[in-house]
Amino acid sequence: MDDTFHLPEMNQMLKDTPFAGKLHFFPSISSTNTYAMQQAEAGAPDGSVYFADQQTAGRGRGTHTWASPPGSGLYVSILLRPQISPADILWLSLATGLAVREAVRKVTVLECDLRWPNDLLFGRRKFCGILTELNAEVTRIRHAVVGIGINVHQEEFPPDLREIATSLHLESGRTWPRQDLLVALLQSLHREVSALSREAAPEILKRLEQASSWVRGKRVRVEEGEGFSGTTEGLDARGFLRVRTANGMRTVFSGGVREA
């Protein structure tokens, strides 16, 4: 199908957000996050959006990559300069997961699961990953880049991904326009970012607990330090995942949470 992006149309739909007029599309790019971080360093404004039909070096956490073949997914990085303290920036990571979930629900009516901190899954298979990169001083955030990869049109995955990856097409048997997803995503992200503050934190925690089957009572293995296993037992006041292990309660800072 013809699944192209119409920028003037998108700008019109986003006119009440900081993203209107700041959309940058690339047929192919190495990594939207890398590019966005470079642009941020060069002074690009808050709300700049960089998205691509294809990434040749899509990145994930650590050594992970994000397979980004052409015409298959939504690969987008959003530059933000939020006026919050660096100590509060982690709420952005959690709020972004909620924003994508809401956008997917709005466009496709599909209800997805959230794996702490912000992976989006159907069952055991992931269809959206989020990687945020930050440049901050101790007291001030210079810029943050939120990178989001969503599998949209894939009808199958290579053998090494088949058991862990899915797409909106595979889940619904239908084809969803990436433009609709991107507009809905930017609208919900704008709502989340506008509400971001320490006061909003309890609300984010509550919504996350409701949206995620992973926050409580899930047997997990955590790839952090030497690694450990246990059962999830909610989030602490800062939004970190608590896991009860044989040796007591542990707090997960970084992620790498998998079903045990």
Partner: protein
Amino acid sequence: MNADEMKELKELIEFLKESKIGEFDLERGDLKVRIKFAQEGAPANLAGLVAAPAVVPTTLPTVHAAASAAPTPAPTATESEDASLHIVKSPIVGTFYESPSPGASAFAKVGDVVEKGQVLCIIEAMKLMNEIESDAAGEIVKRLVENGQPVEYGQPLFALKPR
């Protein structure tokens, strides 16, 4: 003592000299400065004074000794060196990583001379990667955390000898 503080101190000494003040004590947090000019209105040699251990920040425990009008004890070389180090702190809670990805070489190691703005490490929390830049130029003399270790907000990460 960093470069800014050294500059402030020099300005202070100029002011005291002009005002013909014989003795001056200053305490600000961990920093304690005692300045005493040579008698009979002849100011001490300025360059010598700044370089000499008589005007160095001392740690709090020595303040009490100084307060009882006793001469300020000359601190050891180590003490003055530690106080002169610049500490790079973590702006967020998370996990400390010395390199951009596992197996890659470290951003910076002890002995490296780094510029202001140079990336020293990554702190990661909730899949949010924070590249920590050095907020001063200088030589890294200590790394204060282990690779993969959790760190708290404001926790010291590196000690730099400012240039």
